[in-house]
Symmetry: C2
Subunit: 136 residues, 2 copies
DNA sequence: CTTAACTGTAACAAATAATATTACAATATA
DNA sequence: TATATTGTAATATTATTTGTTACAGTTAAG
């Protein structure tokens, strides 16, 4: 994941936490992040699927946090946006004739998995509430 | 870093470790990874700059490990290829008028730094020798 | 002293991924 | 009924990654 989705999601969630139940429009959120509102709406789909937020259509609609900020841990946010392996993989199949090529993906995956576990564990120590309350 | 550079570098280093001092050409290495030899040579520049490998030009030239495999830890390899923050950042400057936008990058960076430290610490427990000896 | 097998590197091309934009239907409020 | 909003598709643009071509420089070996 080398795109900005983790940052965007956390930004959205922080805004919603600060909004304290008030509905925020995707336009308003996009203005804070400084990206296109459609991207915000797309990211909201994902956050909604995870049960973090809810949205209300129509005039005066918008989104709000669907669960308490201290029940949302950052590893959950990470899991929600995760797409690729942390350390990247090659799309080219390594040469199966080569003893190293034949096994490298297997060993890389093992390494990546254990490394990612450590990262997830670290993120799980922090909640959205922790993150949000840093803002003064 | 969502490109394959970590995987490529570790693949190269593993091949060189297995080669036991024998010089390997970029063509041979590229054949194992299944990428273009020029990419291998570019990656070797980097590995050379870090002191991990040395290369010999000319006929019968190639590359070899410049230090023992158990003195190369995987966090060093990670550091050698690292370009971006692990969890990704937005290039758009968030809105400075917004209390969240104004501070988000600072708080994201703090979060990223501590998270990355944990990852680095985990990688530092493993050496190239450890990785390489898994191949049977 | 020439040929062949390499590395080093630049310039460019192609493919892929990320982000942005436009458009508009559907929905809810006043 | 007019307006502000979400939802979503389609497309465009930009950025990044990967691949290719080309060739000068280096070394070894006949």
């Amino acid at each position: 994941m080398n795109n900005a989705r983790f940052a965007i999601s956390l930004h959205i969630l922080t805004l919603l936490e600060k909004a304290n139940g008030e509905l925020l429009s995707s336009d308003y959120i996009a203005g804070s992040i400084n990206i296109n509102p459609v991207l915000v709406r797309k990211e909201l789909i994902n956050l909604r699927n995870q049960g973090f937020v809810e949205s209300k259509e129509g005039k005066n609609g918008g989104s709000f946090l669907a669960k308490s900020a201290n029940s949302i841990t950052l590893d959950q946010v990470y899991a929600a946006v995760r797409q690729n392996n942390l350390l990247g993989t090659s799309k080219n199949d390594p040469n199966p004739q080569c003893p190293v090529g034949k096994q490298i993906n297997q060993h890389l995956n093992t390494l990546y998995d254990s490394t990612e576990q450590v990262l997830i564990q670290e993120l799980s120590k922090k909640t959205l509430a922790d993150f949000s309350k840093q803002f003064i």
